[in-house]
Symmetry: C2
Subunit: 408 residues, 2 copies
Amino acid sequence: MKFLKTISVEEFRNILNSIQKIVTDEEIVSLGDCFNRIISRDINANINVPHFRKSRMDGYAAIAEDTFGAEEDNLIELELIDTIQAGDISQTKLNRGQCFYVATGAPIPENSNGVVMVEFTDRQSNKIVISKAVTPGTYIIEIGHDVKEGDLIIKKDTLSDLATIGILASCGIKEVHVYKKPVVSLISTGNELVSQDIKELKIGKIYDINSVVLKKAIENTGVLVNFLGVVKDHYEDLKYIINKALDNSDIVILSGGTSKGEGDLGPRVLEDFTDIEIYVHGVKIKPGKPIIFVKMKKKILFILPGYPTSALSCFYVFIDNFLRKMSGFPLREKFSKEMEVGERIYSTVGRHEFKAIKIQENEGEKKIFSIKTGSEAISTMFYADGYIEIDELESIIERGDKRRVYFF
Amino acid sequence: MKFLKTISVEEFRNILNSIQKIVTDEEIVSLGDCFNRIISRDINANINVPHFRKSRMDGYAAIAEDTFGAEEDNLIELELIDTIQAGDISQTKLNRGQCFYVATGAPIPENSNGVVMVEFTDRQSNKIVISKAVTPGTYIIEIGHDVKEGDLIIKKDTLSDLATIGILASCGIKEVHVYKKPVVSLISTGNELVSQDIKELKIGKIYDINSVVLKKAIENTGVLVNFLGVVKDHYEDLKYIINKALDNSDIVILSGGTSKGEGDLGPRVLEDFTDIEIYVHGVKIKPGKPIIFVKMKKKILFILPGYPTSALSCFYVFIDNFLRKMSGFPLREKFSKEMEVGERIYSTVGRHEFKAIKIQENEGEKKIFSIKTGSEAISTMFYADGYIEIDELESIIERGDKRRVYFF
C-alpha cells in the first residue's frame, strides 16, 4: 500500500491524473435520451440517406439530353406529364421529350438525369418551355449522397451531441448502446447534521447542506448520484455504510469526519481496510485540509470537509474534472483572468490556499476582494465570484498585486 | 398589423430584442429540483444560521475573564466538567474556574464567552492548564452569524444556482416557489416526413430529424417542449394544429413549410389569422430564408426551414438566446475567434449568409474551410465546428482573408 500523508497540490493532481477512466457496462437508451451520453459501440448506417434520388430544387425533371442546346433564343419544349410533391411518388414513366414537375425533396423519375429550375422555364398548359440546358446530374441528390449504407457513422466512445443524434435520426435509429453512468455514492457524516425533513432544529443540530448542494454539483458531471443519507459518527455504522457504498458504486464521496477532533472517524475506518492501493491522508490546501483519497480494487473514495463551502471548493478544484473524465463528459473550462487585488489579503503559511474572493468596483476598476465570512459560513459560497490560489509560502498579498481569478 | 417582408438580420434582431420576457405562473418545486429555475418570490430566512452559539475550533469553552493573564510562564488551571461533541448538548452549568471541552461546531455553554484552542492547553486528568488568554468572543460563532432570521436571503427573479440552494438548505427550506417554464410547442411539417417508429421507409419518405434534434436544442434553453408530431401539408390540418398550439403554449416553432414550392402552406395559414401584431415573412439570410416570425396576442410563432441543418443554424443564430431570455436562463456565450480562411469561399449576393465551416490544419496553422455537403445534408451539421457571417454584398472570400468564427 502506498500511504501518503499531507502531500502537495501538485502531487495530488498527479495521482488523480494517473487514474484510468472507469469502464462501465452498457445499457440501451432511446435516441431522445442519448444526449450527452457516451456511445459504447461503433454504429454503421443501416440505410442510405437519402435512399432515393431526389430533387434539390423546385423544377422540371427531364432527360438532360432533351435539354441540350436550349438557350434564351433557342427554346425547347417538353411535355409535362406528372407532378410530384415531396413525399409523393409517381407511377408514370418518363419518356424522351417529356418532363415531371418536382418539388424540392421529391423523388426523381427513374430515368430522369437532370432538373431544370422553374426560373428557366415557362409553362403553357401542359407544355414546358425551357430556356437553359442542364448537364446530367444537375440538381439531383443521389442515393447515399449524405450517408452511405454500411458506413461507420458514429465511433465507439463518442460523446453524443446534437449532430450525433441528427445523423442517427436520419437513419431511423431509435435506440442506442451507451455506457452506463458511473455511480457515485454520497454520504454526509456528522452527529450534528439533520435532514431538511426535520421541522424543529434542536440546539446543537444543523441542517445538512451537502446532501443537496454537493449532490447537484456531482450530478452535473454526468454521473449517477446515490445519496446514502446522513450517518452518525459511529465506527460500526460508518464502516458498514462505506462497505455498502463500495460494493454498490464506482466512487464514494463522504463529506465531514476529517477534522482533527475526537470525532475524526473517517480515516480510522479507512485505515482498517486491507485492500488499499493508494491512501492519501491530507492535501496541503486551505480550506479543506485534509482531503482523504483512497483507491482500493477498482473503487475510489474521497472524504471532503464537512463545511459546505469548503466541500464545494475542494470539489471544484479537484473532483469536478476528475468525475468528468470518469463519465466522459466535457471538462469544465476554467474561466480565468488576471486582475488586481483591491485590499491586503492574508493567508496561512504552509498550506496552498484556494481563497474564495469577490470582484468589486474600486476606483473605477474591477478588483479582487476577500470575503469576510469564513469557510464555515454558507454565505461565503453565496458571495464568491471565484477563487485565487495562494502559494504555500505566501502569507500576505498586497493591494495592487495581480492575481489570476478562477471563476465559478 | 405590422407586416414585414424580407427584412435584414439587424432589423430582425431588433424585433426579437423588443419582445418582453413572458411572465408565467408560479409552481412549487422541491429544493432538489430548483437548480436552474427562476425563483418567483422574495425569500426571507425563517431561522437564524446558526441558531445556537457554537465553537469554531476544537478547544475549551470557558469564561474569558478566567483566562486573563495566562501566558507560557503564567499558567492558569481550569476544571474540566463536561465534553460536548458536535451535535450534542450539555445539561451541566459552567461556573467560574471551570471549562467544557467543545469540538468544532459543538454548542457553547450558555455563559461561556471564549474558547481556548487545544494547542494552548495541557490536560492533566480533569485539570486543563492554559498558556494563553482569550478575549471575549474568541472562536465563538454567534447566533445568526451566517444568516439572520427575517433577512431577505433570495430575491425574486433570481436564477437558482448551487449557492442559492445551499443557503435555502441551511435554513431547512424544502420547497420553493418558481416560475413555470415557458411552454414551446414544436411541430414538424412535410408530407415526406415520417417518425422513427416507421421501420420501412417508402420511396419519397425521409425520417423526421427536427422532432429529435431541434427538440433537444430547444429543451437546452430552459423551456418545456411539447412535440405535437409530424403534420402533413394540408391547410385545415395545419391550421387546426397551429390553433391548438397557440392555445396551449407560449411559443410555437414549426419546421418546414416555408419553401417557395406549391406546398408552401405555413405562411398561407398564418396570413388568415386576424389578431397578428407583427408578421415578418423572411429574413435575408442563408441558409434558411425565409424565417417566418409572428407575434399575436401574447404568443410568438416561428417557422424554421425544414432541412435540419438549416433549422438548427437559424435556431442558434436567432432563437437560442431569445428562448433563454424568455425562460430566464443564462445566455449562451458566443465563443468566437478571428481566424484565417484556408480556401476561397463563395456566397450568394443579396443574403446575409451564416456559413457552416470546419477548422483544419493547413501549413501548420488552424484555418477556416468550407463544408462541401450542402444545407440539405445532415452530415454538414456533423462536420461543422462553427459558422462565419458573410455580408449581403460579398460573393467571394479569398484565401488568406480573416474571418470571425462563432463556435457551436
